[in-house]
Amino acid sequence: MTTNGWLQIGLFCILILALARPIGTYLTLVFERRRTWLDPIFAPIEKLLYAATGVAPDEEMRWTEYLVSMLMFSAVTAILTYLVERLQGHLPWNPQHLPGVAPDLAWNTAISFTTNTNWQAYTPETTMSYLTQMVGLATHNFWSAAVGLALAIAFIRGIARKEMKTLGNFWVDMTRGILWVLLPLSTLLAVALVSQGVIQNFKPYDTAKLVEAQKVTATGTDGKSTTTDVTTQSIAQGPVASQEAIKMLGTNGGGFFNANSAHPFENPTPFSNLLQMLAIFLIPAGLTVTLGQMTGSPRHGWAVFSAMAVLCLAGVLTAYWAESQPSPLLAGTSQTASATQAGGNMEGKEVRFGIANSALFATVTTDASCGAVNAMHDSFTPLGGMVPLVNILLGEIIFGGVGAGMYGMLIFVILSVFIAGLMVGRTPEYLGKKIEAYDIQMAMLYLLIFPLVILGFAAVAVLSPTLGLSSLTNHGPHGLSEILYAYASATGNNGSAFAGLSANTHWYNATLGIAMFIGRFLMLIPMLAIAGNLAAKKSVPATAGTFPVTTPLFTILLTGVIVIVGALTFFPVLALGPVLEHLLMAAGKSF
């Protein structure tokens, strides 16, 4: 661990802290339909869109209507993406003449992008045309993020409103989220990324002549090996910057290239790396401020922010520490950081980012449900790799995905208030709303679905040599981590992969697809049900007897509940995975 590393991590934290309030305030203005300085540009467009689509912007929706609108929208856009993928061979902007995508992969990808997961069971540059990338995938980056944002706002309204049956209008929230928030921010970010060297073009792939010809030996089907001289390399091109910006801002994470943000055309410099990490946390951090403002308790927003920050820092510190440790397997060689070496584990990491920025990026991308990577999580040390895994298993509520992190966190807030709220001698209240049986029923349902899908599928996978285990390249505890990570990433709609698992099989495509679907849409139902129920409740005015949700003590309580209720469910399997692997590695055994 180096001073430089700490400074870079510190800088990131300070910038997020500084950006949270302005962005959160802006979000409040946008979703409360108050005046913003972008109104002159977007207000006419908004009006036009409503007129064209027949949306009545002042018509409020009950939670069920909100849910149905959201599901309908997701279904239609998923089918659209499926069709574009299948038909890309007949459509323009396909200079590489890539054929239509196979049905199962097209389905998997459509679901993956609709659910904001961006799990990529394919290599983009050899599978998807420019049109598919832009119309089929990049648009989902906007839509799925706007959907998440709308849902979080609806949930916050549920807390803030008193004796009302409605949560807002889904179409209005969607439209305003895209026009006022995602479009301008991603345009700014795209320009900034281009300035750092991220490419933006529609050119066919470049062919470069290799400085040194390579001999490649391949074994044919007849068992004979043939050696060929390779003198050129094909270098993929494309409209990267525009997709890169929303990939981060919308916590989507689906890379234009297979190497994702480790690729120099996606993430060329340490500064672009900082911008990308900031973009991941920007809206989720801002939403904590929005929560405080819309519910009339700014300090509550900061208490939630603090709980997120504590958990985030714990993750970063663990990952950075673990990755900086000398490997016991290389005992006897110098492994301390110096001018000539990074010190610690550099496998799978980009030299331009180093250990600190790789550990930070891995933590941030899994705290949020982004899933973009600038280093290979599979190559992390066991404990370093456990950090992203645990982040996802906690439900990606540490700032979390755009919107999804906020409502996931609020479920834990409600749970914390309920568990400890009784200790002040009143039936639990959250910001004036009594937490009753129905709310707890729905919250428990939300919490139950998540481990059910992850542990259920993973347990079946590890029992089946043909379905689950045949995809493993590593065995032992590391193999267990890989399988667990895949299902956690899919269910949590993260989309990052603990590489090493060949996921492009019928079994994994099918089950991971189901996991993504359930992780997004099934978990939404109880969440919105709580929001609708809370909105209809009376609000009890706050007194000295009211459970405090604004204090540091509440932050500690919330953090404790997340760790004990959220993480302990997975403690046994983690003990057999990364923890065991770490202890075995210390004893000189690796996988």
Binding site: I419, E436, L463, A544, F547, V565, L568
Partner: protein, 681 residues
């Protein structure tokens, strides 16, 4: 707190109750009973599974008999301990119900019919019947006295041995079946049918026969059931992961892990906490018609308290003599005392007492004074006496002013000023005049009960607003409110105003508690979230409220709120404790499960437990014993002092949250040392 010491209460841990509870714990093993408690039902199913497996393993000579047997036994103990806790909580109520049943014995009623009085068994009385009861007889049923006045021994119900006066009309007309008339004769209009009497309801309540889960208890049960399912999932899927890792587990170990992780501590004690909360109310001589009312008491935001009898002692008292210019205070005191000698009202008596205390004026015998008493009349609105040429009058300022005017005199400005000062300070001024000359003013004062100010401060700290209800004018009310330290007051209050205030508060989302005794209080008692009717009040009031205070002590409302809060706090504390316990249990069991195959995992055995068997056994034993250890806490409730929610949370999180994490580490280690020492593992 006033009277319940009188009754011969059973202690919480009376040997008879313990004996009865031990038997009940076994009876409660019935799966149909257990199903109502999802957490403990899972433990029972686990116990049955391990028992079957233990038998089959033994017959096939496989397994580790000693370990498996101990696990099985402790799992059964876990279930039994939880049942025992519930039975203990029910114990005192059951004993009390037995005592009440004796009071319900069949008596002969003397029904007043058209053809005169007829003798019928008390069980045949219907609502609307009129009965006559004479001294020495048992009152045959609940009702209101319609004729007569009597002293009644209500000790069978209240435990209070001093007789109480019950009389026709007014707010002290209600009598309860099973109580005894000690003097005089009364006629009672019966208000309840057989099986629906107050005594019947009371028996059902203290026995918990009609006990239904309260809203918060239902919510908590859902949380616990949800956690149980999540941990069930974690344990069921652990076996595949263990098999993948080459370390499959026995069913005994997996069930042990499950039982340790699911919230058995709170699951086992939850219903005991609820029953004990009701029981604590009963010990305070308050009967709640539902557990919901007790919970609501904890949530109350606003307390409506009647001034008279609750905040102030029943009557005004003379506190000061303010003489007119040129009159000595001794002169004034003398005249005041004389005019009050024949006045038997409490105010009159207090004037005599004050004169004696301040000026040493001894009471004089009226008969020796040759005086003529002038009683208070509605037209003159004065009272006084004439003797030896002295004509003394006292009364309200307007009345005396009129009187003086008639005598060709007038009220001096200084006296008027004194009158106003007294009124503004919350007192009632009485002007004294002698032979057409105003002597001065007697200050009659409402006396705020001792310690009320402190209690209101405590309530304020808990976020509860107190509103004083009084018929006084706003000026007087404001002064008393200030002196008593209540947050607000409702002056010149009529029953409708009270009702409106409750509705207004409720519209703001607040919960309101009040006490009442009169029939005109009944609508407000029904509207309030917590309506405590005085046992001495009318039947209508008692039926409208959701609690009845057998001691008829309106101040007790504050204690009721505290009991409600304590009930909720006990639930929260034990839930937090139970969930926090899991951390240590993981550290005991997980290394024990896998250290056999992966010795490196022993590094997680931070408690340094002796062996995998001793570790698992210790965790299971701790899990069972902690239920027993916490029974006293569950039954008595966590200690409770009035303080703000923030302070309470901090204190309880430290004790039950942090304590819940630390205690099992110590407990499991201690049990491990013990069972290794006695060679059980």
């Amino acid at each position: 707190m006033s009277t319940h010491e009188h009754r011969n209460r059973k202690s919480l841990f009376d040997p008879n109750i313990m004996r009865r509870a031990s038997v009940d714990a076994l009876v409660k093993l019935n799966p149909q009973t257990m199903m109502k408690n999802p957490v403990m039902f899972v433990v029972e199913v686990g116990s049955v599974l391990t028992t079957i497996l233990l038998i089959s393993d033994t017959l096939r000579h496989v397994g580790h008999f000693g370990f498996d047997l101990q696990i099985t036994l402790w799992l059964w103990f876990t279930v039994l301990f939880a049942n025992f806790a519930e039975a203990m909580a029910e114990g005192r109520g059951k004993a009390q119900a037995d005592a009440l049943r004796k009071a319900k014995a069949e008596t002969t009623a003397f029904r007043v019919g058209k053809a005169g009085i007829e003798e019928v068994p008390s069980s045949q009385l219907r609502a609307g019947d009129v009965v006559q009861v004479v001294a020495g007889q048992m009152i045959p049923g609940d009702g209101d006295i319609i004729e007569g006045v009597a002293s009644v021994d209500e000790s069978a119900i209240t435990g209070e041995s001093a007789p109480v006066i019950r009389e026709a009309g007014g707010d002290r007309s209600a009598v309860t079946g099973g109580t005894r008339v000690l003097s005089d004769m009364i006629k009672i209009s019966i208000t309840s049918n057989p099986g629906e009497t107050f005594l019947d309801r009371m028996i059902a309540l203290v026995e918990g026969a009609e006990r239904q889960k309260t809203p918060n208890e239902i919510a908590l049960n859902i949380l616990l059931a949800g956690l149980t399912i999540i941990f069930l999932l974690a344990v069921v899927t652990l076996q595949p992961f263990a098999m993948y890792s080459g370390a499959p587990q026995t069913v005994f170990v997996l069930i042990s892990l499950l039982v340790c992780l699911i919230p058995t501590t709170i699951g086992g004690l939850l219903s005991a906490i609820g029953i004990a909360g009701m029981d604590r109310l009963v010990q305070h001589n308050v009967l709640a018609t539902s557990g919901r009312a007790v919970e609501a008491a904890g949530d109350v935001n606003t307390l409506l308290l009647d001034k008279t009898g609750t905040i102030t002692i029943g009557n005004r008292q003379a506190s000061e003599f303010v003489p007119a210019p040129g009159v000595s205070s001794g002169q004034l005191a003398d005249a005041a005392q004389l005019s009050s000698l024949p006045d038997e009202t409490p105010e009159g008596r207090s004037i005599v007492v004050l004169a004696k205390e301040q000026y040493g004026l001894r009471g004089r015998e009226l008969a020796n004074l040759n005086a003529v008493f002038v009683p208070f009349s509605a037209t003159t609105r004065m009272s006084g006496l004439d003797m030896d040429g002295r004509s003394i009058r006292k009364g309200a300022v307007d009345a005396i002013a009129n009187y003086l005017q008639e005598m060709g005199s007038s009220l001096p400005a200084e006296v008027r000023a004194s009158v106003e000062t007294i009124a503004r300070s919350g007192g009632t001024p009485l002007v004294v005049a002698e032979n057409g000359r105003a002597l001065g003013v007697i200050h009659l004062k409402d006396i705020v009960k001792g310690g009320m100010k402190e209690r209101f401060e405590q309530l304020r700290a808990m976020g509860i607003r107190t509103v004083m209800i009084t018929g006084d004018n706003p000026l007087t009310a404001a002064a008393i409110a200030r002196e008593a330290g209540v947050d607000d007051f409702l002056a010149e209050a009529k029953p409708k105003d009270k009702m409106d205030l409750i509705k207004r508060e409720q519209a703001e989302g607040k919960l309101v508690a009040m006490t009442g005794d009169g029939t005109n209080d009944a609508p407000a008692l029904a509207q309030a979230d917590v309506g405590v009717a005085m046992n001495s009040g009318t039947q209508a009031a008692k039926e409208a409220g959701n609690m009845v205070d057998l001691d008829s002590n309106p101040t007790k409302l504050i204690e009721i709120v505290a009991i409600g809060k304590q009930l909720l706090m006990t639930r929260g504390a034990l839930t937090t404790f139970s969930i926090s316990n899991d951390v240590a249990k993981y550290f005991a069991i997980i290394p024990a499960m896998f250290a056999g195959v992966f010795p490196v995992l022993n590094q997680l055995n931070i408690m340094q437990l002796h062996s995998p068997e001793s570790a698992i056994l210790s965790a299971v034993i701790f899990n069972a014993l902690i239920i027993v250890a916490l029974i006293p806490l569950a039954l008595r409730g966590v200690s409770y002092k009035a303080m703000s929610a923030a302070a309470l949370l901090q204190k309880n999180l430290l004790v039950y949250g942090l304590g819940g994490i630390i205690v099992p580490f110590i407990g499991i280690k201690a049990i491990d040392l013990l069972i290794v020492a006695v060679h059980l593992a």
